[in-house]
């Protein structure tokens, strides 16, 4: 039990924390990897329906969201550099900008999903049941994959909010920033997954 300060200091090992984060990121990639596998199998089975399905998504909204996420990856990287250079204020600003980008992403997603729901297109709806099977699977995958990704965005946001408060209270500083680094790593992962989802769902047709 680490009840003395000396003890906790001794246990601190930034390399270990980073290795842990990388391993966790592997598991996340594999989680989505399973989905990509299912996607490619059904795409091979119903190429035509998947083609039609992708035409019904708005490439514009998808592209905007891609840019938003790429931009947020940049800002979180800047937050890290700022912290390393001991610029607390800039680091905090950059984390806040990243969080704002995340919110923009989610708002876009909300409208995108909302439009689909408006047309009666959502899992379990009467319309879905009438669709051709491949078409139905395409939209099932669309909702499942983007939904799971959005959930990861939210997890990432929670992580970054924790980081933000720790920076504010000087628990993260220029000599101890591994949590910020890990938060940034996770955020890059969330971004990376979207980089796969965007072409798979919106572009390939």
């Amino acid at each position: 039990m680490s009840d003395t300060n000396i003890h906790t200091e001794e246990h601190r090992n930034d390399d270990a924390s980073k290795l842990g984060m990388w391993l966790f990121i592997f598991t996340e990639l594999l989680l989505f990897g399973g989905l990509f596998l299912v996607y490619s199998i059904y795409r091979a089975q119903y190429p035509h329906n998947f083609h039609e399905g992708s035409l019904e998504l708005s490439v514009t909204i998808g592209a905007i969201n891609t840019i938003v996420l790429l931009f947020s990856s940049m800002t979180i990287a800047m937050a890290l550099t700022a912290m390393q250079r001991n610029n607390k204020k800039l680091a905090m600003t950059m984390i806040v900008v990243t969080l704002l980008m995340a919110v923009v992403f989610l708002i876009n997603k909300y409208f995108e999903w909302g439009a689909k729901f408006h047309h009666g297109l959502y899992p379990g709806s009467d319309l879905m049941a009438l669709l051709e099977r491949g078409h139905l699977l395409y939209f099932s995958l669309y909702f499942f994959m983007t939904g799971l990704h959005a959930f990861h965005i939210i997890v990432g946001m929670v992580l970054l909010i924790v980081v933000l408060f720790k920076v504010k209270n000087n628990r993260i500083h220029a000599h101890k920033y591994v949590l910020l680094e890990n938060g940034a790593l996770y955020w890059h992962l969330v971004d990376l997954i979207w980089i796969f989802l965007f072409p798979l769902l919106y572009l390939i047709s």
Partner: protein, 537 residues
């Protein structure tokens, strides 16, 4: 280098250590890896007992043809819960969470795992998942009846509590990932100075290979279960042929995880046996590198054989012979280990103490389980015995005869270290004999019944199977009594036994060079490793 003086040094053991919390809280909020290991031990021991009682209930139902003590649907529920408890709550976490947690850091000369708080968190996640699994029994729609495999499309259609049970499996998987991650980082980052990878004892090697499997395979079952849940909640249709989905795909995804998962069960068991045999033969382990690397080989090839569970489900012929071939390949590293264990005993001064008895019976049962596994791995015989009692016998020999006996071996080996108390050898030997006889009576007849065509997961059978079924049920009763006797002996040992010395078996690995029970920080000073772990002579 034995430090026999170590006993006399004054110190506070981890059992008595006073931390931030008192009483029960000093346990359930402990971040000490040794306390967490004991938390797992108590939880898993309890679940094992519940699971065994459920198994016994099934055996009682099968004592005579027709309805004996329960309705068919109850039987379906019981074999499902029995499977879920035994697989997800007992054997998958089992050895690595209990003995891995306790001894991995000590064996590599570390003071704790890399992330002690995460370790505690994993335990809580494990308990949460277990509570969910048990809750699925008692909720409104009745216990899940899909079998622990949750095969679609039935699992997407049945009215029972499948969502709760699959959520439980998902949560338990998450705990397993976190434990594996923690151990991987521990092994990479926390080894004592001088402890190179090839200086590590072989139990840490086994844990290392296991942790990789936990990390790489578990996400696949995670996403599969999520898809199944989404399918049930929203009628999404990934696995439902009515909606264009493919139930065989579910089987593939399920076994891509679940075959590697059997290695999550068996690799740490092999690791334990590899620690015990050199100690009780007082001989350097034969073929250290072969054993270490065969663990890694098993972990690697084990990812490519899942199709052998699906020969009869609809697969191309090419896929079938390919999976069959790889199944035979993956048997090779396991056989290497068996040869190494036996060669280690050759010309050793063998000491038949209880841990060694369990270890030797592990080898015996594992050989039976393993060779019948090859029968199942070859396509022609598989088609004959698929989904019969033969399979039930095979996997009980592997997971109970293998992992279960290794667990019993480990607890008899390390209990003096964990609690600083010794149990009664005579009673331990008697319990071992009862368990061993009961086990074989219980499961061996199932091989024969299966060959004769007795299907698995049936609550009823034709009269011609009765002799075998009755023998089997008697074996079950003997086994459970032996188990109770064994636990009684161990509990008495912990409560009233003689104090155990630091090194009761004259072992050579690091855990025997610190006091029993270990101090909270394990080592007063960081040990520096200059030799191989198994230098006896």
């Amino acid at each position: 280098m034995m430090h026999n003086t170590v006993d006399k040094i004054e110190y506070v053991s981890f059992l008595e250590h006073k931390g931030r919390f008192k009483g029960l809280f000093s346990w359930i909020f402990a971040t000490d890896h040794k306390r967490i290991a004991l938390l797992y031990l108590y939880a898993i021991g309890t679940f094992f007992f519940v699971g065994a009682i459920l198994g016994l209930l099934m055996r009682l139902e099968l004592i005579a043809p027709g309805e004996t003590i329960m309705k068919p649907q109850t039987y379906n529920g019981i074999f499902t819960v029995h499977g879920i408890i035994m697989i997800f709550m007992v054997v998958i976490p089992g050895l690595s969470a209990v003995f891995g947690n306790f001894f991995l850091p000590i064996l590599i000369g570390a003071k704790d795992v890399a992330f002690p708080k995460l370790n505690l968190f994993s335990w809580w996640v494990f308990i949460f998942g277990s509570v969910l699994a048990i809750a699925s029994q008692f909720m409104k729609n009745g216990p899940p009846d899909t079998g622990w495999t949750f095969y679609a499309p039935y699992s997407t259609a049945t009215g029972t509590n499948v969502i709760t049970a699959t959520t439980a499996a998902f949560v338990l998987g998450f705990s397993s990932i976190l434990t594996g991650l923690n151990f991987l980082v521990t092994i990479h980052q926390m080894r004592a100075p001088g402890m190179k990878f090839f200086n590590m004892p072989l139990f840490p090697w086994a844990i290392y290979a296991t942790a990789w499997i936990q990390l790489l395979a578990t996400p696949i079952i995670g996403i599969t279960l999520l898809m199944l849940i989404a399918e049930r909640l929203f009628g999404i249709g990934f696995f439902n042929p009515d909606l264009g989905g493919d139930p065989i795909l579910f089987q593939h995804l399920f076994w891509i995880y679940s075959h590697p998962a059997v290695y999550v069960m068996i690799l740490p068991a092999m690791g334990v046996i590899t620690e015990i045999i050199p100690t009780f033969c007082q001989r350097r382990v034969y073929g250290y590198k072969a054993i270490a690397l065969s663990s890694v080989a098993i972990a690697g090839v084990g990812f490519l054989v899942w199709g052998h569970h699906m020969y009869t489900s609809g697969m191309s012929n090419q896929a079938r012979w390919f999976f069959s071939l790889l199944t035979f390949v993956v048997a090779v590293p396991s056989a290497i280990k068996v040869f190494n264990w036996i060669s280690t005993m050759y010309k050793g001064s063998i000491d038949l103490k209880p841990p060694f008895l369990y270890a030797v019976s592990f080898i015996f049962l594992f050989i039976i389980g393993g060779t019948t596994g090859l029968l199942l791995g070859s396509i022609a015989t598989n088609v004959q015995v698929h989904d019969t009692a033969f399979v039930v016998a095979h996997f009980h020999y592997i997971i109970f005869g293998g992992m279960g006996f290794a667990f019993f071996a480990a607890i008899h080996y390390w209990l003096p270290k964990m609690y600083g108390k010794m149990y009664n050898f005579k009673r331990a030997n008697i319990a071992w004999a009862i368990i061993f006889v009961g086990f074989n009576l219980l499961y061996f007849p199932q091989f024969i019944l299966g060959f004769q065509g007795m299907p698995r997961r049936y609550f009823d059978y034709l009269p011609q199977f009765q002799t075998g079924e009755v023998i089997s049920t008697i074996g079950g009763i003997i086994l459970v009594s032996g188990f109770i006797f064994m636990v009684y002996n161990l509990v008495m040992g912990v409560r009233k036994g003689e104090p155990a010395p630091a090194n009761p078996w004259n072992g050579s690995t690091l855990e025997w060079q610190i006091p029993s029970p270990p101090p909270t920080e394990n080592f007063d000073e960081v040990p520096v490793i200059k030799k191989n772990p198994y230098d006896y002579i």
